[in-house]
C-alpha cells in the first residue's frame, strides 16, 4: 500500500518520510509528543549544542528501520522469506516498534531510568512487573537470559496500553512489538516465522549493530561536534540481507561490500563511551541530577508515604491523568521540565539543585579520564577491580576524615569503561552467497579494554592534596 507520506527534516538523515496515517495515530499523540521534552543524553553540560531529544531519535530509528527493511526486501533472494516479510504482522510491527521503542522513556533518559525499577522505592522491578502483567503468559527475557532494561519494559507496556487499538488497526502483533522493543527473542526458533521474528528483534534491539544504536551513534556524534570515526551509513543500510547459513538457519547479514563500515560502527560507539558518555563532567552532572531527584522524592515523601514520588511519577498513572505530587504540585506526562520545576521549588532544601542550575561545580575531579586512572593504579586497582569497588564505597568516609570535611562533600562515581568487541555470533557477513561470521572473516578478535574505574570529586580547596589521596588509595589496595 502506497500511503500518503509526511516529511520531517532531520540534520542527520535528511528527509524522514512517515505514513500520514501513522503520524496521526502514533506521532500526533500526547504520549509520543512527550518525547520532545526528554533529553536524549546527559552530555549537555559538556556539549551545549546537544539539545537532541527522544522524539527525533525515535524518528531517526524509524527511518533507519524503514530503509533497512526495504534493503532486506530488495537484497534477499529467497521468495518465501520475502513473502513473510511483506506481511503486515512483520513489516508494520517492526516499523511501529522502531518508531515507538522509547515511548515510555524516563525524564532525563538514562540518568533517571533506574527509578522505574528500584532506586529508593519499595517497589523494585516495577517496570518488569508491569510487562509481565501486560503479557502474562510470556517470559520476557533476551535470548541469553537477561531482563529487559527498565525503559524498554516500560515503553513496551506504554505501547500496548495506549495504542492497542492502533496496533490492531495495522495488523500488528502486540507481543512481537513488545519483544522487539525489549530485545527479548523467542526462546525457540521452531519455524521460519519465529526465526524471522528473532532476526527482526535483533535489528531493533540486538547485541552488536541495530537501528537504535546506529541512530544514537550518528546523532550523538553530530550534536556534540566531536570528531568521531565516520560511518558510511548509506553503504551499510544498502548491504543488509537475510540469508540461510550452512545449517539452514536464517541469518541477518551484511554484504561483504560493507565490511569496512562494520568496524567503523564499533569504533565510533567505543569512542562515544570512552570520551563522551564517561566524561567526568557528564557523569558529575548526571550524579547531581540523580542525587537531587532522590532528595526531592524524600521531601515529597514526607507529606505522604516514603515511596509516593516514585510510585506516582514513574508509573503509568501520569500518562492518563495529572497526579498530585504535593499539596501544590501535579505532574502530567512527566518530562524533563516537570522534574526541573519540582526541583526548583525545593532549591533551598537541595543544595545540588543550586549547583546544577548555576553550573558551578562545588567539587573537582582528581583525575579526568580512564586512561589516567589506569596509569595511576595500574599495579593495584586495575589488576584487582573488586578491591577497587570495595575501596570506592569506603572512600567518602575515609576522605572526609583525611580532608576534615563533611562526607557529603566527597563524591565517588563508578563507571564502566566500555570497549565493545564483536563476538563470534554477533555479526554475519555474506561473502559470495556464504554466511560467514565477522570474527572469522577478520581473524583474531582484538582484546577488550573494558574495565571498572571510578572518579573522585573533592572540594577544590583540597586539590593540592591530590598526591596524598592517590597514595592513600594505593595503600588501601595493597
Amino acid at each position: 500500500m502506497n500511503a500518503k507520506q509526511k516529511q520531517f527534516k532531520d540534520p542527520v538523515h535528511g528527509y524522514i518520510s512517515i505514513r500520514e496515517d501513522w503520524c496521526k495515530d502514533f506521532i500526533d499523540t500526547f504520549v509520543f509528543q512527550r518525547l520532545r521534552y526528554i533529553e536524549q543524553t546527559s552530555m549537555r553540560p559538556l556539549y551545549p549544542a546537544a539539545r537532541h531529544d527522544r522524539f527525533i531519535h525515535s524518528l531517526g530509528t524509524f527511518h533507519l528501520g524503514q530503509r533497512i527493511y526495504a534493503s532486506i526486501l530488495k537484497n534477499t533472494q529467497d521468495e518465501k522469506i520475502k513473502n513473510v516479510l511483506k506481511e503486515d504482522r512483520f513489516q508494520n510491527t517492526f516499523l511501529i516498534a522502531c518508531l515507538m521503542h522509547d515511548c515510555g522513556h524516563a525524564p532525563f533518559s538514562h540518568t533517571l531510568e533506574e527509578f522505574f525499577n528500584h532506586a529508593d522505592a519499595k517497589t523494585p522491578k516495577q517496570a518488569n512487573k508491569l510487562l509481565q502483567e501486560e503479557f502474562p503468559n510470556e517470559d520476557f527475557q533476551t535470548g541469553d537470559g537477561f531482563d529487559p532494561a527498565p525503559h524498554e519494559a516500560f515503553s513496551a507496556v506504554v505501547l500496548n496500553k495506549f495504542f492497542a487499538d492502533k496496533l490492531k488497526k495495522y495488523n500488528c502483533d502486540a507481543e512481537l512489538a513488545a519483544r522487539m522493543i525489549t530485545g527479548c527473542t523467542y526462546p525457540d526458533e521452531r519455524d521460519e516465522k519465529h526465526c524471522l521474528a528473532n532476526r527482526l528483534i535483533g535489528l531493533l534491539n540486538g547485541k552488536a549493530i541495530d537501528v537504535d544504536k546506529l541512530d544514537y551513534i550518528l546523532r550523538d556524534t553530530w550534536v556534540s561536534g566531536v570528531q568521531n570515526t565516520a560511518i558510511d551509513i548509506d553503504r551499510l543500510v544498502r548491504s543488509v540481507v537475510f540469508h540461510f547459513d550452512a545449517g539452514g538457519k536464517i541469518k541477518q547479514c551484511f554484504h561483504k561490500s560493507a565490511l569496512s563500515v562494520l568496524q567503523n560502527v564499533v569504533d565510533a560507539r567505543n569512542y562515544l563511551y570512552e570520551w563522551v558518555y564517561n566524561h567526568h563532567t557528564v557523569l558529575y552532572y548526571s550524579k547531581l541530577l540523580n542525587k537531587s531527584m532522590r532528595k526531592l522524592a524524600e521531601l515529597v515523601g514526607k507529606e505522604k508515604d516514603k515511596d509516593y514520588f516514585w510510585k506516582t511519577v514513574f508509573s503509568l498513572e501520569p500518562f492518563r491523568n495529572a497526579v498530585k505530587i504535593s499539596n501544590d504540585h501535579k505532574v502530567y506526562l512527566p518530562a524533563d521540565g516537570d522534574m526541573l520545576y519540582l526541583m526548583k521549588n525545593f532549591i533551598h532544601e537541595i543544595p545540588e539543585v543550586e549547583e546544577l542550575l548555576s553550573h558551578t561545580p562545588k567539587r573537582v575531579a582528581l583525575w579526568k579520564t580512564y586512561a589516567e586512572f589506569r596509569m595511576l593504579f595500574k599495579e593495584t586497582l586495575v589488576v584487582n577491580p573488586n578491591t577497587g569497588k570495595s575501596i570506592s564505597k569506603r572512600l567518602p568516609k575515609l576522605l572526609s576524615q583525611e580532608l576534615q570535611c563533611p562526607e557529603e562533600d566527597i563524591i565517588i562515581i563508578s563507571a564502566l569503561a566500555k570497549h565493545y568487541v564483536i563476538e563470534e555470533s554477533h555479526v554475519f557477513v555474506l561473502v559470495d552467497n556464504e554466511v560467514i561470521s565477522f570474527t572469522e572473516l577478520m581473524g583474531d578478535k582484538p582484546a577488550s579494554r573494558s574495565g571498572y574505574f571510578f572518579y573522585v570529586f573533592i572540594p577544590p580547596e583540597h586539590k593540592n592534596k591530590k598526591t596524598a589521596i592517590i597514595d592513600l588509595i594505593s595503600s588501601l589496595s595493597r
Binding site: K122, D144, G145, D147, P385
Partner: protein, 113 residues
C-alpha cells in the same frame, strides 16, 4: 528502601555457595536462581539487577573472577570466599546469612530439577 544487589555481587555469592566442582553456570540458570533468591528474600525487599548491560558490564569489569564463554559464566576466582569482601559492603550479618541460605536453597532446587 530496597536492597540492591548488582549482578557481580549476586554472582560472587552464587559461586561461593556452589559446589567446588561447579565453576560455571549458564546465564539462563543464573537468571532462574536470581528469581528464586529474590522470591525467598521478598520480605527483605531485595532487587537483583539482571539486565544485559549490567551483567555483561560486571563480567567485563571483573575479568579476574568472571569469564564469559558463549552463554556461560565461568568462575575464575579463588574458593576461599575472599572475593566476597569486595562485594559485601553494607550487608548486615543477618542479611548475608539470609542471602547465603536463599542461594543454597535455590541451587538445591535447581539441582533437583
Amino acid at each position: 528502601m530496597c536492597k540492591y544487589l548488582d549482578p557481580a555481587a549476586f554472582m560472587v555469592y552464587v559461586f561461593a555457595n556452589s559446589p567446588q566442582n561447579q565453576a560455571a553456570h549458564s546465564l539462563q540458570r543464573l537468571r532462574k536462581l536470581r528469581d528464586e533468591v529474590a522470591n525467598s528474600l521478598e520480605d527483605q525487599n531485595v532487587f537483583i539487577e539482571w539486565t544485559r548491560n549490567a551483567v555483561l558490564g560486571a563480567v567485563e569489569c571483573f575479568p579476574d573472577i568472571f569469564k564469559q564463554e558463549d552463554t556461560k559464566i565461568i568462575w575464575q576466582g579463588s574458593n576461599d570466599g575472599l572475593e566476597k569482601q569486595g562485594f559485601n559492603d553494607g550487608f548486615s550479618q543477618d542479611f548475608e546469612e539470609r542471602l547465603n541460605d536463599a542461594i543454597k536453597k535455590a541451587l538445591e532446587l535447581e539441582a533437583a530439577q
